[in-house]
């Protein structure tokens, strides 16, 4: 993925402000859409949003860095979030975690150099009765086993 140039961001922010409105209460939906489209929220994007919403860029930065699903650094096309909360842990999270790290060649918290995959841990995703579970972007995968994980990753590669 190529880092978007600033004109694209200006246009996108303008479009989103038109869609949601320029009031502060619309900040999160705007940020979520920028995150979804570009894979991260750049310094320039934060400044542009702040300018259009008439708030200080630091306010925007404060919000972006508060929420774990928003990021200031580029993330992969596929963000894999493995649940590490207790029920998934009891159900065999460690074997799944090892498989993910080995197959992707990534440690948790890392993004692949081709920006295809980001591997992260997350907290409870509400699939406790069907663990171990993970999210890939907005899709949920349950009752994971090492061989199931290998198949899922192969399909995305």
């Amino acid at each position: 993925m190529i880092v978007p140039d600033n004109n694209v961001i200006v246009n996108e922010v303008e479009k989103l402000i038109e869609k949601y409105g320029s009031g502060r209460e619309n900040l999160l939906p705007v940020l979520q859409d920028i995150q979804r489209k570009f894979g991260f929220i750049s310094d320039f994007a934060m400044q542009e949003i702040a300018h259009k919403m008439n708030i200080h860029p630091v306010e925007v930065y404060g919000v972006v860095t508060f929420y774990s699903f928003l990021s200031t650094e580029p993330k992969g096309k596929y963000i894999i979030r493995l649940c590490k909360t207790i029920s998934c842990d009891l159900a065999g999270k460690d074997a799944v975690a090892n498989t993910l790290q080995r197959e992707l060649g990534l440690k948790f918290g890392e993004t692949s150099s081709d920006r295809k995959f980001t591997l992260e841990y997350c907290h409870c995703i509400g699939m406790c009765d069907q663990g171990p579970a993970m999210l890939i972007n907005e899709q949920v995968y349950t009752k994971l086993t090492p061989s199931k994980v290998i198949e899922i990753i192969e399909n995305l590669k």
Partner: protein, 397 residues
């Protein structure tokens, strides 16, 4: 053991049509019906729903808001996901009924980012309701206007706390506010706002549909109605169960096929750990209150590892705003690590318990007030195991 024959949620034929009924009543009558039912908030705190709605109804303002708290982040809870995806009508029309009861114009569903895959489905459902005149202008031909917007969260557990949730809706960091003022008079954008759990709205629907008397037949003196429980961990049949309030922990364990049980965590990470010697206790606001998370541990589980998992969760999810929660959780986690290494003296352990009790009093919001619960209950109930862990070294090996 009471086998549950009556189901409120899982039998669709029993749901009835509550919206039609509510709109024929006055807002006051709706609120009084909910109050009479004894319905208490299903998120876990158990505030009487009728009282909350009455406060919002009587608040004077030209704008009012309803918020459905679908930020179901408590570890081990998933009943709201099931309600939203399979019993959508109960929840969404329950929100409309709440809006009518307090005379609001707009409602929000704050859906956690982890459930983003439900967004499109719910939006389509809302669109269908608008076409059927069950949402939007002149609902069911009356002069009541009300609409619902879905807002997504972005992965912050603390936003399940109602004032943090409102902060997030307003485009801020999800940091809890001081209470009072309460959202019922100073909520979203400063307007009167009710924030209720997904299950609470579904219950309100049932209350209106079947009547307060029918609803309050179930449960105990101070905990009326049925409760959805999310069961996970070491048992044969994990899943969502509908049980009357007052059910004994023992009965629930039998129901879900739990064998060789060592302990049950009730109320998620912020709940308490119940050892086998206390399974005659019951699930209710009088005894063990819960938002509905039940996690079962069998004899092979290491309770110190369980505790460490919970404390890591709180260290990461504390918003950092107030000191008791920000520093306290770190100290408790360090204590768990000392226990693992066999370096935590009994004296220091007692000091940590005291620290936990201080956090319960001094933290600003529910997160820090309840995060010491698993620490205190696990180190108290499993002291021998925890301390022998420390003598034998990591993981008890």
């Amino acid at each position: 053991m009471p086998i549950i024959n009556d189901t409120v949620f899982f039998d669709e034929r029993a749901h009835g049509e509550a919206l039609e009924k509510a709109l024929k009543m006055t807002p006051q009558e709706v609120v009084l019906e909910v109050r009479e039912s004894g319905l208490r908030g299903r998120g876990g705190a158990g505030f009487p729903t009728g009282t909350k709605w009455m406060l919002a109804l009587t608040a004077k303002s030209d704008k009012k808001f309803v918020v459905c708290n679908a930020d179901e982040g408590e570890p081990g809870t998933f009943k709201d996901r099931v309600l939203l995806s399979e019993y959508t009508k109960l929840v969404l029309e329950g929100i409309v009924i709440g809006g009518y009861a307090i005379q609001a114009q707009k409602g929000f569903i704050y859906l956690r980012g982890e459930y983003a895959y439900l967004y499109e489905y719910l939006n389509d459902y809302l669109e269908r309701m608008r076409k059927e005149k069950r949402l939007g202008k002149n609902i069911l031909g009356t002069n009541f206007d009300f609409d619902i917007e879905i807002r997504l969260g972005s992965g912050a557990y603390v936003c399940g706390e109602e004032t943090a949730l409102i902060e997030s809706l307003e485009g801020h960091r999800g940091e809890a506010r001081n209470r009072p003022p309460f959202p019922v008079n100073t909520g979203y954008l400063g307007y009167p706002t009710i924030v209720n759990n997904v299950e609470t709205f579904a219950c309100a629907y049932i209350v209106i549909s079947k009547g307060a008397q029918w609803f309050s037949k179930y449960g105990t003196e101070k905990s009326k109605g049925m409760k959805l429980i999310s069961v996970s961990g070491d048992c044969k049949k994990p899943g969502v169960y509908e049980v009357p309030f007052g059910i004994k922990v023992k009965e629930l364990l039998e129901l879900v096929g739990a064998e060789d049980t060592k302990a049950v965590q009730i109320g998620g990470a912020s709940g308490i750990c119940v050892p086998m010697s206390e399974i005659d206790r019951n699930i209710s606001f009088e005894d063990i209150p819960t938002g509905g998370s039940v996690i079962i541990f069998n004899q092979n589980r290491n309770m110190l590892e369980v505790l460490k998992n919970f404390m890591e969760f709180f260290v990461e999810e504390s918003c950092g705003q107030c000191t008791p929660c920000r520093i306290g959780n770190k100290k408790l986690l360090e204590g768990v690590e000392l226990l693992e290494e066999g370096k935590c003296s009994h004296k220091y352990l007692n000091e940590l318990i005291e620290l936990g009790k201080t956090m319960q009093i001094a933290s600003k919001c529910g997160l820090g007030q309840s995060s010491p619960n698993p620490f205190i209950s696990i180190v108290t109930n499993f002291k021998d195991e925890i301390m022998s862990n420390s003598i034998r070294g990591k993981n008890g090996y």
